[in-house]
Each structure stands twice: as structure tokens, then as C-alpha cells.
């Protein structure tokens, strides 16, 4: 798994780093911490070294690594020591070796349009998930490019998690694309539940009074999947006509996870504008799974 954590120098980015670290502890993901400087003129090599943003990035790296002090870090690059290596049949030598880290932790700086740079990095790095924070007091914005979180969430080909620092997450509300749910999606939700020690609510979308038989079957599969992992989810059915008001109500306290597969009922029901509105208005974190 590859996680791209997009940051700037504001405090909401610290929460994104913390959330990325929590995810990385459980998944041993390859992680890139990326900051983008909006002023391209500053980005000569010498100037970059002096930027405050570089210091901030280094601080974020340390903050990220503090989460691994107890558990042992897969990002530790100082694995040096003597190892007995076989040179030939019956011949060994005790050699001093330095091994590279098991997992990558890259810290990167880009210059240019911020949202486009984040999306470009995610594409280049083949990221599975982009994590970013935002200023919820101003409707989930970034300082130098207000609409950046919404642009990244809607523009990314991979999953995106917009983290809020406001409240402890007590519940993960998962609107799944019931007709075709991937193992990765279920596992990602599983990780979020474990990290936050939260309850899981699975929401099935219905069109009209009842669940379609294939959706019903898929919900049974999902229920079994989580029960086998000792997670007891609660289940709820929401008519697509009520989805917006349902999400608005639930986003007060639950992390909303939406599976937006290309052919999903959810994608058909929630337009980009509606997703924007949800990200903007949500008082809790939002996870868009693709």
C-alpha cells in the first residue's frame, strides 16, 4: 500500500500526519509526505533549502516516526550490524552490513499549482490513498488554495481521506458499493475501525422500498467478512432519495466512508458537487474509497 500525505504548514496538516502514521502502523505502507509551495519563483535549489516549509516537512517526518518508537519502525534506515554471511560452501564471514529500510518514507517538496501537484504526485507514485487535513472552521479549506481538499478528493483516481481534528471518531459509517466491493476497500474500512476503536455501521442503499437481491446478498457477505474479524457492524438501509440528509445528519459524529466505484449506485446518486458539499460541511472525517 502507498499512502501520500499532502501537507502544508498549518496545524490541520499535523492531524493528517498523525492519521497517516496510525494507518501506517497497521498496514506498513510506503509513505510519501508531500508539501507543495505555491510560489514557483522560489523554487531554485538554493532557495528551496531556506524555505520554512522544508523545516516543517522535517518536523512532520519526526512527528510521523514518533508513532513507531514502541512498535519498531519499518522506516528505520539505521539497521547496521554484524551478520554471518556464507561466502562459499563451508566458508562464512562476519560482515558489518547496513540494510535499507523495509518500507519507504519519502519526504518531498514540489512547486506549482498545489492541487495539481498533489494529484500529479499521487499518479506518479501510484498512491492507493491520499491523506490530507483541512481547516473545517472555514468549510474545509487550505490556506493558499481554498478549494484544494475538494479538488483533490474529486480529482484523484485513488482513495482520499480528509481528516478532521475536531472530535474523536466514535463511528465509521460506511456506504458501500454493494454490488462489487473489493477486498482492499473492506480492509481499509477494517483498518479505520481498528485505529479509532470505533463502531462500524454499514449502510445499504435502496431504490424504493426494498434492497435489491444482489445488494442484499452482498451485504450478507460484508457482514460475514467483518464478523469473521470480530467486528460486529450494525446495518442500516437508506433510500437514495434520503441519502443526502442521512449523511448530513451522520457526519456530525461519524467518519463517513463512501465507496465511489465508477459503476456504483453511490456515484450515480452523489454528484461531484454533492461530494464537495459533504466534504465542506462535514464535521467529521470523510473517506472516499475508489
Amino acid at each position: 500500500m502507498r499512502i501520500l500525505c499532502a501537507v502544508d504548514e498549518n496545524s490541520y496538516s499535523e492531524y493528517a500526519i498523525r492519521e497517516t502514521a496510525r494507518l501506517a502502523i497497521n498496514t506498513w505502507a510506503n509513505v510519501t509526505i508531500l508539501a507543495v509551495h505555491h510560489d514557483t519563483a522560489l523554487m531554485t535549489r538554493a532557495a528551496a533549502r531556506d524555505l520554512d516549509l522544508v523545516e516543517t516537512l522535517r518536523r512532520y517526518r519526526e512527528l510521523f516516526l514518533t508513532h513507531f518508537q514502541e512498535s519498531g519502525s519499518p522506516y528505520d534506515t539505521k539497521r547496521c550490524g554484524y551478520e554471518l554471511i556464507m561466502l562459499a560452501n563451508g566458508v562464512w564471514e562476519d560482515l558489518y552490513l547496513c540494510r535499507s529500510s523495509m518500507k519507504e518514507l519519502k519526504v518531498r517538496l514540489r512547486a506549482g499549482n498545489m492541487s495539481k501537484s498533489i494529484l500529479a504526485e499521487a499518479k506518479k507514485d501510484a498512491s492507493d490513498l491520499i491523506v490530507l487535513g483541512c481547516d473545517h472552521d472555514k468549510g474545509c479549506t487550505w490556506k493558499h488554495e481554498a478549494a484544494l481538499p475538494k479538488k483533490v478528493v474529486n480529482g484523484a483516481n485513488c482513495s482520499a481521506l480528509v481528516v478532521t481534528a475536531r472530535k474523536k471518531i466514535k463511528e465509521i459509517l460506511c456506504c458501500l458499493d454493494q454490488e462489487s466491493v473489493s477486498q482492499e476497500t473492506l480492509e481499509m474500512v477494517n483498518q479505520m475501525v481498528t485505529i479509532h476503536k470505533a463502531r462500524l455501521k454499514i449502510v445499504g442503499l435502496s431504490k424504493g422500498k426494498e434492497l435489491k437481491p444482489d445488494v442484499d446478498k452482498s451485504m450478507q457477505f460484508i457482514l460475514d467478512y467483518y464478523l469473521a474479524r470480530e467486528i460486529t457492524p450494525s446495518i442500516s438501509i437508506v433510500d437514495t432519495s434520503e441519502l443526502e440528509s442521512f449523511l448530513a445528519q451522520e457526519s456530525e459524529q461519524a467518519l463517513i466512508a463512501l465507496v465511489m466505484g465508477k459503476k456504483s449506485l453511490l456515484s450515480k446518486t452523489l454528484s461531484k458537487k454533492k461530494v464537495d458539499k459533504l466534504v465542506e460541511a462535514s464535521r467529521s472525517s470523510v473517506l472516499i474509497l475508489r
Binding site: 463502531r199 445499504g204 434492497l211 437481491p213 442484499d216 446478498k217 451485504m219 450478507q220 457482514l223 464478523l227 460486529t232 457492524p233 450494525s234 446495518i235 442500516s236 438501509i237 437508506v238 433510500d239 434520503e242 442521512f246
Partner: protein
């Protein structure tokens, strides 16, 4: 031994109901009977009389049996006492009610997946089947581990009937219970609730049960539902003339736990 009737179809709600009733069977000796009622759809498919109709009905029943058998076979791994389902053609609720009225059941149990709008739950309670229910019933909204139950007293709830019916149903089950008096309001000066709670606690003791926790809890129906969400079963008594929007009913709509109900 208690005798439980569970309607089954090849769907999620039935799967949850079957798993839940199997948890009950681990607590008390339980005879589980399952019924699958298939609508005859005679309006859609006009059928003849005599052997034509008879053959058509037999085909319908066989199809239903296959679907439901598959579900029951899957659940039987964890619940060996699950038997073959009765398969009946007709109106679902009518046939279930007939079976309940003729079969001397101790309990009826149905999977009822919660919806965002509360109307389904309320309508179900007001349906002729539930309204004429001859025995206590459990509406299983979610598959919660049945490790602790809560007896809910509130204004207008007959505590004596609640305790009598609960202890009759669960007999000598080893199931920790709590007993709370829910006041759907801000905390005020103490009223007669403490006294009612004490009477109910004494009554429970006479029946050989001990409430590990008992208290008066204050709050809105939603707050209390959220606060008490860890219970594997909530039990209470309802008046047959359901008042729309009564706080107790709102609480029952909001809770995610399975609920054991009986009519006052």
C-alpha cells in the same frame, strides 16, 4: 423449553434473525421452528384448477425450499438444532399469524433491518400480525452479541408484566441483566421512579434474577439509545394503542439493539 417461530427468506434480515435465535438457543433450551411463506402470486400468473394448480403450487414450494434450505444449511454449522423450514403459500403475515395462533409458541422472532426513516419500524409494529401477536416477540435489528440484556421501565410501562414475561421467556438462562427506568427529559427532582425501580428489582429477585445495575436515566430518546447501545437485548412493554411519536417508541426506533416486546 421455549418454542420460537422465525420467518425466513433467503435474505440478510433472515440470516441475522437465525444467527440471533441461535444465540438464544445457547442460553436456554429452545425449539426453533422456521417458516417460509411464499406469495402465491396468483394474480400475476393465473393458474388453473385441479392438478394444474396443484403442480404449480408444488413447484413454487420446491423453489422456496431450495433458497431457504441453502440459507439454513449455511447457518446450521453454528446452530445444529436448526430444522427444515415449513414452506407455505399465501399471504406472509396471515400465514405466520395462523401458525402462531395454532402452535403455542413462546416467542416470535423476526429480522428487521433499520431504515433511516422510522416509518418501517412503526408500520411493522402497527401491522395486523404484530397487533394480534399472541406471544412476546423479538425484532432483531442487528446481530449483537447476546451477552447482556436491559429491562426498560418507563412512564406507562407495567413493570410487573415486564418482569413476569421476561423471566418466563428466559427462565433460568445465564444472562446478566440491568434494569433502568428511562425518563425522556432533563434531570429533575426525583419522582416515584426510584420507588418503581425498587419494586421491579424486588420482583426480579423473587423470580431468581438479579439486576447488576439499576438506575433512573435521563435524556432524549436518541441520547439514551446511543448511551445504551451495547446491549444484546432490550426488553420492554408497549401499549397496544401506539402513540405516534411517544418518547419510548422513538427510543425503540433509535436503538440498534434487538428488542423484546410484549403488549401491555
Amino acid at each position: 423449553m421455549i418454542k420460537v417461530l422465525v420467518p425466513v427468506e433467503a435474505d440478510l434480515a433472515s440470516s441475522i434473525a437465525l444467527r440471533y435465535v441461535c444465540q438464544i438457543a445457547k442460553l436456554i433450551e429452545t425449539e426453533i421452528l422456521t417458516i417460509n411463506v411464499r406469495a402465491s402470486s396468483s394474480e400475476e400468473y393465473p393458474v388453473g384448477t385441479g392438478w394444474v394448480r396443484h403442480t404449480w403450487e408444488k413447484t413454487m414450494i420446491r423453489e422456496a425450499e431450495d433458497d431457504v434450505r441453502q440459507l439454513i444449511r449455511a447457518e446450521r454449522a453454528n446452530c445444529p438444532t436448526l430444522g427444515e423450514p415449513m414452506v407455505v403459500l399465501g399471504d406472509r403475515d396471515d400465514e405466520i399469524l395462523k401458525e402462531l395462533q395454532s402452535g403455542s409458541y413462546s416467542l416470535f422472532l423476526e429480522g428487521t433491518i433499520p431504515t433511516f426513516s422510522s416509518s418501517y419500524f412503526t408500520k411493522r409494529l402497527q401491522s395486523p400480525l404484530y397487533h394480534s401477536m399472541p406471544c412476546p416477540f423479538i425484532m432483531v435489528k442487528n446481530l449483537m452479541p447476546l451477552t447482556r440484556a436491559l429491562l426498560v421501565l418507563s412512564d406507562g410501562v407495567d413493570g410487573r408484566r415486564l418482569i413476569q414475561t421476561f423471566t418466563d421467556t428466559f427462565k433460568k438462562a445465564v444472562l446478566p441483566i440491568d434494569l433502568f427506568y428511562l425518563k425522556f427529559q432533563e434531570k429533575k427532582d426525583e419522582g416515584p421512579e426510584k420507588e418503581k425501580l425498587k419494586d421491579a428489582t424486588d420482583l426480579l429477585q423473587q423470580q431468581g434474577w438479579v439486576a447488576e445495575k439499576s438506575d433512573v436515566l435521563y435524556g432524549s430518546p436518541h441520547e439514551l439509545a446511543e448511551r445504551l447501545e451495547e446491549y444484546g437485548l432490550l426488553a420492554t412493554v408497549l401499549g397496544r394503542s401506539l402513540k405516534k411519536g411517544s418518547p419510548l417508541q422513538e427510543f425503540l426506533v433509535a436503538t440498534l439493539s434487538p428488542i423484546l416486546l410484549f403488549w401491555q
